[in-house]
Symmetry: C2
Subunit: 279 residues, 2 copies
DNA sequence: CGAAAGTGTTGATCGGGATCAATGAAGCCA
DNA sequence: TGGCTTCATTGATCCCGATCAACACTTTCG
């Protein structure tokens, strides 16, 4: 008994944990099969380089499992992580032959890869898919700018608090921010990467996390796992009453009146708040 | 004597100084006329707000003349400029009802505006134009990440040097970086905006610019105009031997070997270089 | 199994740049 | 013309966080 040719055989995409997210979710039927055809899985161990800095970047793709870091190294060896990529995030740079930063495995990772040129051709041939890529690029741009704010004018304490909040959101695959008692945050990367992402040092990261625990905001389970004891205080310490990091649509509050009434006026300096880490 | 209806009358786009740049350059014939139909010009004086932070953003468009700043204000009044927009840059956020930062006139500006929803419809109906928007969004993302590096791990001196280089490139409408003796840099914004963009203070900006002059790198003509005396040193001081800020495609050098051989290894801290501002 | 390397923590010290303060110059308007 | 505001600059001081150093603990590997 033969099955009709119109019955599609089970394909690797059908078993993919992220098939309902990212560009894959937007691709139906024919396009899905085309993606399936040109994709290939690769795994990398923590620390391996997927794409070297300024190297010819032949592949793009999705993170299936694990975390990637995008890292820029400047002349004298200083480094800055410009983004972490979690499952369902796109990695690589479409429509440019060279990446401007290295893409490395921050943990063991599993990737769904496409030949860059083939993927670009698919995008151009399928405006719906390209539209999804545009939407996700716009979200990444918003997130990058939020990070600029963090790096440009917030304290290390605020950066760490914001980082924990973001990690929770990304690891929990949720966009909601309600707090469940005993909520757990599992940070998938080490102090080094945290420091390189937050524009600070491992020592400052360590001290700041300890300070959060001492203040009763979190409880340290081990170096990578924390229990959130006071979610509200964690949010407050991040320096923003609303957290609009990635994906969340901003609230409607208009802050212009602050400047307009002169109640705050434009700041003279960076105006970093005084915080006492010791208590 | 009547002209044939196939002869298109002169339209405002035909007189536009940026008609050969931005999305307009990619739009030919019919699409150009459609853009022409839905666009409208508006001017704002320096300091005026085009779109308030987190406000319903009904318009997007192109900068025709002048400079816009995208500024984020956090709870206690601290601010960070997350981008400056020069002529031919797109402003506003397509495919989202709210902007995450205010868009303000940094100088007197002239804008070519579109109703956001109408522009989005045009993009969806014209994949070629949407493709151009994707390309420019990807470039903006690269630029935002370069800025993250600057804010995250570079000194104020490096930030100021990099800023001057970027301003020169954007104001001169060129992507080339060759240096002409007596080259002039005209900074269109004041110390306040420079500080808010560079994540520092007006005092530090002032001191750093003076230090550059004292070292013979630049000559100060007035507060906003400088002559570049030593372009090579300015580039060196920016902390990068190649300047890949916005639009420039990265060179092919691969720096992984540094880490791989352990010659530099991964930095422990931010490793900011020691510089003596006084000489 | 012991040496070596990597990771996280804590203490002591230092410095780049923020903050506070004061001045001069330039634009604005009644 | 003179008060008023904004802007740029310079000096004095302070402090957050980088740096340097030491140590415990874990993992790796010959």
């Amino acid at each position: 008994m033969r099955t009709g040719s119109h019955v599609r055989p089970t394909q690797k995409c059908d078993l993919c944990p992220i098939q309902h997210r990212s560009v894959c979710a937007a691709a139906g039927g024919r396009i899905r099969q085309e993606l399936n055809r040109i994709s290939f899985r690769r795994t990398f161990a923590a620390g391996e380089t997927i794409v070297g800095e300024a190297e010819e970047a032949g592949i793009v793709g999705n993170v299936v499992r694990g975390v990637l870091r995008m890292v820029r190294t400047i002349a004298d060896g200083r480094q800055q992580i410009v983004g972490l990529l979690f499952p369902s995030d796109l990695f690589g740079r479409v429509f440019a032959s060279h990446s401007r930063y290295a893409i490395e495995a921050a943990t063991d990772v599993e990737l769904c890869c496409f030949d860059r040129v083939a993927f670009e051709a698919l995008l151009v041939a399928n405006p719906d898919v390209e539209h999804e890529v545009l939407l996700s690029t716009l979200d990444e741009l918003d997130a990058a700018r939020e990070w600029m704010v963090l790096l440009g004018c917030q304290t290390v304490l605020e950066r760490v608090a914001a980082f924990l909040i973001i990690v929770r959101r990304r690891m929990m695959k949720t966009t909601s921010d309600e707090w469940i008692p005993g909520m757990h945050i599992s940070v998938p990367i080490g102090r080094r990467d945290m420091a390189t992402y937050l524009g600070t040092t491992v020592e400052s990261i360590s001290r700041t996390i300890r300070a959060l625990a001492r203040r009763g905001v979190i409880r340290i389970i081990d170096a990578q796992n924390f229990e959130v004891v006071r979610w509200d205080r964690l949010v407050a310490l991040s320096g923003r009453e609303e957290l609009e990091f990635d994906g969340g649509k901003a609230g409607a509050r208009d802050r212009r009146h602050l400047a307009d009434t002169g109640a705050v006026a434009r700041q003279t300096g960076t105006g970093r708040p005084v915080v006492d880490m010791e208590k």
